[in-house]
Amino acid sequence: MLRIECPCCGPRDHDEFRYGGDASVTRPAHDDPDPEAWYAYVYVRKNPAGLHREFWQHVIGCRQWLVVERDTRNHVISSVAFARTSQA
């Protein structure tokens, strides 16, 4: 069981959260017409063995979307931040 330290609610089991995929990809602007940019955003993933930035939402809690940095080799979570502020 992953334990995620929600910056709002404290450490919680991962089954309170919803996984939201890779947070390292950059979403094109809403009106970006470039299919390549959207293709890369939707489909191209690095799948690293190591640190991975990923989105999790605390759905059974504060409902904030978070950026979690997790080591895919051992599930050690090194940082958790609000997605709103960590994007900038």
Binding site: M1, L2, R3, D13, R18, G20, A23, R27, P28, H30, D31, D32, P33, D34, P35, W38, Y39, Y41, V42, Y43, F55, Q57, V59, R63, Q64, W65, N74, H75, V76, F82, A83, R84, Q87, A88
Partner: protein, 984 residues
């Protein structure tokens, strides 16, 4: 009743004032409170306890703990029947009914023990090679018989009436194992200020200390430390609790057995699973003794040396009178000494040429015969050992015996530490595997780290306890632990080399894997330990090969001419000990398997003849019994009511989202494929959302309540996904937009009133509201109050009729529902269910879940026009990918059944007339209904675009019922294409 002939007159940790009766294969036997089933059987002289998995060989009791591979029994009967329980961990309870396993007709005479005679044929891979060879069909035929012949106990088939619990717990420091290391660690961690959970699988604390004399210095030490821990509020002692798994985030899976029947409080759960979250973990899991591998080493009467000592000192049972102790290390000699002191005639056969002189001197003092550089190579005796063949410097000789104690060394119990993928590492000096590198929050202590002398394990536990507490920020000063020196010598062990003299030499007792099987695996190229395991089934029993792992590695290493570390270990996975499935589920069974969501009108539906349907977690009325005898009759009647008078439908399950903020309109413009910025206040609009990849996500209506406030509805199924997606976009993609979204699904009860009489009914019920077409046109909104509660009336239609959606505060939902039915009664208003709802929308050609299936685009569904030439919304760019625009893509069509008396079925596969009905066809039927308007079945289908010309015929094939029916392709609207009905 049998006397307990093997029980000693005094000593042991049993309560002689509490005799216990139990039944073993129908025999009434007696033991004492404090016995395990195994110790009670041994006290009664019972040595034959089970039959083996494959060869049905007689088996006895090997160990005194959870590593037991042989003595597996079935407890209880009926729904409470539980198979494959190790007798060595089963706490004896009054009235226990125990059966042996895998034998027929009886344990002593088992027909299939003949398998042993055919043993040469039943080697690894035999079944597959023999029965799978020529055809797959052969295996299908034989498998049933093979599975019946091999195996362990049978589970009961009745529902299990027992109660199970799952609970959650927290601790600063969790300590697994309460041997000297674990006790010392618990003491230190608690003194340092940490909240401690001490986890012990046994019903007594003490671990290996329980194998020491019950009146000696070890017992005194144990009593002192146990009393100290019991006096601390910060220490939780969890006895009868097995740590079965270690999971990420220092979450431990613990399974607790309740006390046996005669002592437990009533109503206690049979097994309780605890998910324990700890800041740090101390592993003090000890070590498991290794059997030696020689011919017939599986005979009843062959026991691990430490187990014999446990039965003697803890349970006051002398398991033999003429005993051979086969040793490869110093520890086994202590068993020999204790057995000799208890009056047995003991011979030590040590593999080593020169055991420590101190041991030889003590042996001399106690009259223990010693033979060095000597090993057992064979045993005789069927249901009990009678003679052993020893091989030493003077050649081979036979010796009479009734018990063989063996010790091939020790394997640290590293299983739990490997659950998260930490590979054990080999240590030459102890010839065994210890855990790999731990994360900072873990410590190991005692025998599991390779420290075997008791004094060392206490020191080690003390250090680990301080470390673990300090990791949690607790570092109050800690006094030194009480000393305990048992005078053990620990000199280098000598590895037992497997031998097979005459007859089978078992490596894995439970799975009946012999040295020959390992040789065969090696010969056939299954050299990697992971392949070896799967080819021979070694270590795949309920004991997970706790006693067999090392011997198998050593055997394979020998065959490959490699070292043990080069050969490697297999991966240990949870559960360390078996856990009842019921315990993992806890109370989440039957009615509580998942939550049920009920609408505010639920009770009314139930009281008024609704057949309910599960839709996701929701319970919705499927149809009402008052409408017809079965669903097919009822839904058609309910459709007629809606088309001719009016129907009332509970739509409270729709997702409802309040969207607010200055940028709300811009936000909706981006998330919907169609535009919302220009939607006037007080008007609603149907909207479709796409995913980023251009596939349709969900649809619903959104109403503009005010300049910067919208009321969005989603489908019942996607309510949670849509809200989460909107939050995702606002949090991650467009944090600059000043918008907030909130679920208000549970705040509003919702109902839809549809049909030509619907306006008249509203006018009757809400005389103060103007529901005229001028005031409330199609897609209009009326806000008001009803009985002091907020009320929203939206004029929307799903069925194609004039229709209104009414939203009222949830607690007033049932009341409004009732009032509308009363007011509507003179107009013919009746409730209708989801079957009729679905049928009405099919007739009208609206898409829903079966069409919006995560694979279809706007164009596939004929909705391309709603996006028009817009851009900049979610999914816009990727929906234009060439493959998604291909003319041959399946797209939505209507189908009309053109064969009298036949019907269409959802899921039917479409073919061209005359085409062979084979494969995936040209498309599929997604939704169907009988159309009272048309007088036959109509449906919606997704059909290859190049075949989809209206007027053409297709054949709908439904292989499940062997049905074939002809249908005509038509426009996907079967009723009122001009929309005259919904306007009035």
């Amino acid at each position: 009743m049998n006397a307990q002939n093997q029980r000693l007159p005094g000593g042991g940790r049993i309560d002689r004032s509490h005799p216990i009766e139990f039944s073993f294969d129908g025999r009434k036997l007696a033991g004492y409170r404090g016995d395990t089933l195994a110790s009670a059987l041994l006290a009664n002289g019972v040595t034959l306890v089970g039959r083996s998995f494959k060869y049905h060989r007689p088996r006895g009791i090997l160990s005194a703990g959870p590593e037991e591979p042989n003595a597996l029994v079935t407890l209880g009967s009926g729904g409470r029947r539980e198979p494959n329980l190790p007798a060595t961990t089963l706490e004896l309870g009054d009235g226990m009914v125990v059966e042996t396993q895998n034998r027929w007709p009886s344990l002593a005479f088992d027909v299939q023990s003949l398998n042993g005679l055919f043993g040469p044929f039943l080697s690894a891979g035999f079944y597959y090679k023999t029965f799978m060879g020529p055809t797959r069909r052969a295996w299908m035929f034989y498998e049933h018989f093979i599975r019946k012949a091999a195996g362990l106990g049978r589970a009961g088939t009745d529902p299990d009436p027992a109660r199970y619990e799952v609970r959650h717990a927290f601790a600063d420091v969790a300590i697994i194992g309460s041997g000297p290391a674990g006790l010392s660690a618990a003491r230190a961690a608690a003194a340092a200020g940490a909240r401690v959970a001490l986890i012990e699988q046994d019903f007594l604390l003490g671990g290996q200390l329980l194998a020491e004399r019950s009146d000696g210095i070890a017992a005194a030490w144990l009593n002192e430390v146990e009393a100290e821990l019991k006096g601390l509020e910060t220490v939780t002692l969890m006895k009868r609790t097995s740590a079965f798994g270690v999971y990420d985030g220092n979450v431990l899976g613990l399974a607790a057995q309740r006390e046996p029947l005669d002592t437990r409080s009533t109503g206690e759960a049979r097994q309780t699973v605890t998910m324990l979250r700890a800041h740090s973990v101390v592993f003090a899991t000890g070590a498991i003794e290794r059997p030696m591998v020689f011919s017939n080493n599986d005979r009843p009467g062959v026991m691990l040396a430490s187990a014999a000592r446990t039965y003697l000192n803890r349970f006051a049972v002398l398991p033999g009178k003429k005993i051979i102790v086969a040793a490869a290390n110093d520890a086994a000699w202590r068993t020999a000494f204790d057995l000799a002191e208890a009056g047995a005639e003991v011979t030590v056969a040590d593999l080593r040429a020169a055991p420590p002189p101190a041991l030889a001197a003590e042996a001399g003092r106690l009259g223990v015969a010693v033979r060095t550089a000597t090993r057992i190579v064979d045993l005789r005796g069927g249901h009990a050992v009678r003679r052993a063949t020893l091989s030493g410097p003077g050649g081979q000789s036979e010796t009479a015996c009734d018990l063989v104690c063996m010790s091939g060394g020790w394997s640290p119990t590293v299983h739990l530490t490997s659950h998260l993928g930490i590979k054990p590492r080999y240590r030459d000096d102890i010839d065994g595997f210890v855990p790999g590198i731990f994360p900072a929050s873990w410590s190991g202590a005692g025998a599991m780290m390779g420290a075997y002398a008791t004094a060392d394990t206490i020191e080690d536990g003390h250090r680990a306890g301080i470390e673990a507490a300090s990791f949690c920020g607790k570092s109050a000063p800690v006094s030194a632990p009480p000393k305990l020196d048992l005078g053990e010598t620990v000199t280098a062990p000598l590895r037992d080399v497997p031998s097979a003299h005459r007859g089978k030499a078992f490596v894995d007792f439970q799975m009946d894997v012999t040295t020959k099987d390992i040789e065969l695996a090696h010969r056939e190229g299954y050299e990697s330990v992971e392949h070896l395991k799967r080819y021979t089934t070694l270590g795949m029993g309920t004991d997970q090969g706790k006693t067999s792992n090392f011997a198998a590695l050593a055997a394979m290493a020998g065959l490959r001419g490699a070292t043990v570390p080069e050969t490697g270990t297999t991966t240990f996975r949870p559960p360390f000990t078996p856990v009842a499935i019921g315990a993992l589920a806890g109370r989440a069974t039957g009615h509580h398997f998942k939550p049920f969501r009920r609408t505010p009108m639920h009770d009314w539906h139930q009281a008024n003849g609704a057949d309910m349907l599960e839709v996701g977690l929701w319970m919705r009325p499927w149809f009402y019994r008052q409408s017809g005898a079965d669903v097919n009759e009822a839904y058609v009647a309910e459709m007629r009511t809606v088309r001719q008078a009016a129907g009332l439908m509970d739509i409270s399950t729709l997702g409802k989202i309040d969207v607010q903020g200055p940028d709300a309109a811009i936000f909706l413009d981006r998330v919907y494929a169609n535009g919302f910025a220009k939607l006037p206040v007080g008007r609603a609009r149907y909207g479709v959302m796409l995913r980023d990849d251009g596939i349709v996500f969900d649809d619903g209506t959104t109403t503009r309540l005010a300049e910067s406030r919208f009321f969005m509805t989603t489908s019942t199924a996607k309510a949670a996904d849509v809200l989460s997606r909107l939050e995702f976009l606002l949090d991650t993609a467009w944090p600059d937009l000043r918008v907030a979204v909130t679920s208000v699904s549970d705040e509003w009860a919702a109902m839809s009133i549809a049909g030509p009489q619907s306006r008249a009914i509203l006018a009757a019920e809400f005389p103060s509201l103007d529901v005229s077409d001028a005031a409330l046109p199609h897609m209009g909104l009326l806000e008001g109050e009803w009985e002091g509660r907020a009320l929203r009336i939206l004029r929307l239609s799903y069925s194609g009729e004039r229709a209104y959606e009414l939203y009222v505060g949830a607690t007033a939902g049932a009341q409004l529902w009732n009032r509308l039915l009363e007011a509507g009664d003179p107009f013919g208003l009746k409730p209708y269910g989801v079957e009729a709802l679905g049928a009405l929308r099919v007739e009208k050609g609206h898409v829903a879940g079966p069409e919006i299936d995560g694979r279809t685009t706007l164009d596939d569904l004929g909705l391309g026009r709603i996006a028009g030439k817009r851009s900049g919304f979610v999914g816009d760019v990727l929906r234009r990918r060439p493959a998604l625009l291909a003319p041959a893509r399946e797209r939505l069509v209507g189908l009309e059944c053109i064969e009298d008396g036949k019907r269409l079925r959802g899921g039917a596969i479409l073919f061209l007339p005359g085409e062979k009905a084979h494969g995936h066809g040209r498309g599929r039927v997604t939704s169907v209904t009988f159309s009272p308007e048309r007088g036959h079945y109509v449906g919606l289908a997704l059909l290859a675009g190049d075949m989809a010309a209206e007027g053409n015929e297709v054949v709908a094939v439904y292989p499940m019922k062997a049905e074939t029916v002809r249908a005509r392709i038509v426009a996907p609207v079967f009723l009122d294409p001009q929309g005259e009905r919904l306007h009035g």
